[in-house]
């Protein structure tokens, strides 16, 4: 993993959606329980993990927790700081990445893959349209 002094080019996959809180959202093909609902996977961006430094602990919500957009989903502790994770969309947590309990460093090494946080079933998929495109996120993250 390399980090550059000054503006760095971080990895921002085209197919994902983003928030200004440096989280990514991926719509999954998983069949939702509710009619008209959708399931999304949530994590933090490469830019976010790079800024945080070595991550040593991740606290995630339990499956079944109902969250409103902007609610705290948990927290990420790195050597130097702690950051809150915010729910990007309203819904119910349907999966949490238990692997992070024992291997929080996956957030650093694979933020868009093995380092995902939770999956949320959102009742209203129209919420997805309010998220940032990869291009828009690249602009605000300086990537």
């Amino acid at each position: 993993m390399s980090r550059k002094a000054g503006p760095s080019v971080s990895n921002i996959p085209e197919q994902l959606r983003y928030t200004s809180e440096h989280e990514w959202i991926q719509r999954l093909d998983t069949a939702p329980a509710g009619p008209g609902a959708a399931v999304v996977r949530v994590g933090i961006t490469d830019h976010a993990q790079d800024a945080l430094g070595d991550i040593v602990y991740v606290a995630l919500p339990e499956v079944g927790a109902a969250v409103a957009a902007g609610d705290s989903l948990g927290e990420v502790e790195s050597t130097k700081s702690v950051s809150e994770i915010f729910a990007p969309l309203a819904g119910v947590v349907v999966a949490r990445n238990n692997v992070l309990d024992g291997s929080p460093e996956l957030l650093n090494s694979d933020p868009y893959g093995a380092g995902w946080f939770v999956e949320i079933e959102i009742a209203d998929p129209a919420q997805l349209e309010g998220l940032l495109s990869a291009e828009a996120y690249a602009e605000i993250s300086g990537g």
Binding site: R3, A5, G53, V56, K80
Partner: protein
């Protein structure tokens, strides 16, 4: 944002002589005490482990280097500082403090006696101006001058492999250079001051050199040390290394509002020296009954105590405050230093208020880590 903040935000941070080296290494840079310094180059945990197991290479050129020179330099420093500096032998160094008249700590310092009438005082970057101003004022009545070095660099090599790397650099043994001592040396034709000091809890060396030579010496040390596992190391790991070693950081454990006694460093206040010194009367009084005491905490949950968090007793009452905290890379659990009110100095089990939840912690002796 206030007017003062605006000024601070627009003043460009200073660059050390090694700035271009840090950029070429891809360092993540941070504004630290008005200097643009490397926070980390790759992973701060990997850099921390390299210093514990092999060696790390640090740029410490932001620290204040103040020459105090003159026939009365020793007496002047005895008056200006808490330490008994006139007892320090040529070529030796002393950890000491400079206090305000009320006993509060202006800064913690390392003083090197370079020889006879020549001393080198090293101050924290954030306090360099304040220390220089206080020293200038305090030595004014002595036949002594204080000078803040400009364009001076400081490179540290820290870790168990550092002695072998330094020996390769100077072409001779370092056996005659004990801990907290310094000597003149030549590295790659450059005259430097080589000191066996540091802030990591490991054996280590600090090289004081002219700024223009710093990049060349850095490159040489990198090539001499890389086989042994030496890597560049940033300020982030420097902080976790010193925390594990139980060493205080100014602004965290030390401040103008506290005395050395509260920080467990009463040994640096030499009330036994015959001469008067700034802060003497206040320290003699405040030392007899410190209002708080510095302790080590071992966090029993995975959440990390941080600077400013409240320490609670079993009933949930606030009995102190965390001064520094981090996940310890060496120990694998959260550690912290905290001030406890004197009335609670004997407690062994406490809790830390981590964002509203009381996380248990055990009071443990300092340091957390001691090299074998």
């Amino acid at each position: 944002m206030s007017a003062a903040d605006t000024t601070a935000a627009t003043a460009a941070p200073r660059r050390t002589a090694l700035y271009d080296v840090h950029v070429s290494l891809g360092a993540m840079l941070t504004d630290f005490a008005g200097w643009l310094m490397p926070l980390r180059y790759t992973s701060e945990s990997a850099e921390h482990r390299a210093v514990r197991s092999a060696a790390g290479l640090f740029d410490l050129s932001h620290m204040g280097q103040i020459d105090v020179v003159g026939p009365e330099a020793a007496a002047a420093l005895d008056y200006a500082l808490t330490g008994f500096i006139s007892l320090v032998k040529d070529g030796r160094a002393r950890y000491t403090m400079i206090c305000a008249p009320d006993g509060g700590v202006i800064d913690d310092l390392v003083v090197y006696r370079l020889g006879g009438e020549r001393f080198l005082v090293i101050a924290n970057a954030s306090n360099a101006a304040a220390v220089f101003a206080a020293l200038t004022e305090r030595v004014a009545d002595f036949d002594t001058t204080a000078t803040l070095r400009a364009d001076a660099a400081l490179i540290a090599v820290q870790g168990p492999a550092s002695a072998a790397i330094i020996e390769a650099a100077i072409g001779r043994t370092v056996e005659g250079l004990p801990y907290y001592a310094s000597q003149d040396a030549i590295i790659d034709g450059e005259a430097v001051l080589l000191a066996r000091t540091g802030y990591t809890g490991e054996d280590g060396f600090e090289i004081f050199c002219p700024g223009p030579a710093a990049a060349r010496l850095w490159a040489l040390l990198t090539s001499l040390g890389s086989d042994a596992g030496l890597i560049p190391a940033g300020l982030s790991c420097r902080d976790t290394l010193r925390l594990e070693a139980g060493m205080p950081l100014y602004g965290n454990e030390l401040s103008l509002s506290g005395t050395p006694y509260e920080a467990g460093l009463g040994r640096v206040v030499r009330l036994d020296k015959p001469s008067d010194f700034v802060g003497r009367a206040a320290l003699a009084e405040r030392g007899t009954a410190p209002v708080r005491t510095l302790v080590g905490l071992h966090g029993l949950s995975r959440r990390v105590p941080r600077h400013g968090f409240a320490v609670l007793d079993a009933s949930g009452a606030v009995i102190g405050e965390v001064t520094s905290g981090a996940p310890s890379p060496t120990l694998g659990y959260p550690i912290a230093m905290a001030y406890l009110d004197a009335a609670h100095a004997g407690v062994t089990e406490v809790a830390i208020d981590i964002r509203g939840s009381a996380e248990p912690a055990q009071v443990v002796p300092l340091p957390f880590y001691k090299r074998a």
